[in-house]
């Protein structure tokens, strides 16, 4: 990076899309980390798009601002379990939902821990409360992508709940930050 350059963006996302029959972006379906699979025509108007080519394959070069609020990248309604649930049952639930972490709530619906599948797989018939991590670090929705990535790296955590007061809004994982172009 050049000295004195404005450090606004920290990453270029290269999004590869399915080749469209007529080779145009407008008729292509592209896999956008922000919106999922979208019509290429939406990308042409996207403020994050810097440059693109439509043939021989669709390639989009999109900007990511690491000052962007993390709320835009969180997964709402994160899969969760309770302290009393047996580990093997919680592990099966996490596998079925395709996630590595489960938020753990107590009987008053308070977030009290995070359990990862590695711990749950070892837990067998024990209660989730016995294997979960009780040190829960959380972030506010306005936290920037850059700050969240730095915190996750420093704390060595793979899952960051996003909270508003006592209300859990969602979670952000390392995979989400990778998709955002700001790896933790």
């Amino acid at each position: 990076m050049e000295i004195g350059a404005p450090v606004r963006f920290c990453a270029v996302l290269r999004v590869h899309g399915a080749a469209s029959p007529d080779g145009t972006l407008a008729s292509a379906r592209v896999s956008c980390p922000r919106k999922g699979c979208v019509d290429g025509a939406e990308c042409i108007d996207c403020v994050h798009l810097q440059a693109f080519r439509s043939a021989p394959e669709v390639r989009l070069y999109c900007s990511v601002d690491d000052r962007e609020p993390i709320a835009g990248w969180m997964r709402p309604k994160p899969p969760s379990t309770t302290v009393d649930t047996r580990c093997h049952a919680a592990d099966e639930f996490a596998a079925a939902r395709g996630v590595h972490h489960l938020l753990v709530f107590d009987r008053t619906f308070t977030l009290v821990g995070i359990a990862c599948r590695c711990d749950l797989a070892r837990g067998g018939t024990r209660a989730v409360a016995d294997v979960m991590s009780s040190d829960v670090f959380a972030a506010a929705p306005a936290t920037t992508l850059g700050d969240a990535a730095a915190a996750m790296k420093q704390l060595r955590i793979g899952c960051l709940p996003i909270i508003d007061g006592s209300l859990v809004l969602g979670v952000v994982t390392r995979r989400d930050l990778d998709r955002a172009g700001v790896p933790a």
């Binding site: 990076m1 050049e2 404005p6 270029v12 810097q50 440059a51 693109f52 080519r53 070069y61 999109c62």
Partner: protein, 117 residues
Amino acid sequence: MRPATRILIVDDEPNARNALSELLRDEGYEVSSAVDGAAAQARLAEFRPDVLLTDVHMPGVDGLGLLATARGMSNGGPAIVLMSARPQPRGVDEPFIGKPIDIDQLLATVQRALRRR
């Protein structure tokens, strides 16, 4: 072997610079970049580009300021292509391309600018 055409990219947005650098290198061009007009003015004599691809709106020396510098070069200067997310500036007849950049359109514009040189 014919030397590769040299292109100097000038844009204050790092991602635009990086994306264009990668795309144009893939096409076989020799590419260098500068963060703004002032940095590009210093780079012009050193890199001696065949094509100057510059953003119009930049802090400090903008694309039009750079255009004046390039036009005044003793060797006739490089071919110039302007780019911007806004409409083409009035009174400027240099080849222009809008953002986001369609690389195929850009390649055609670069060839046209080289022919005009």
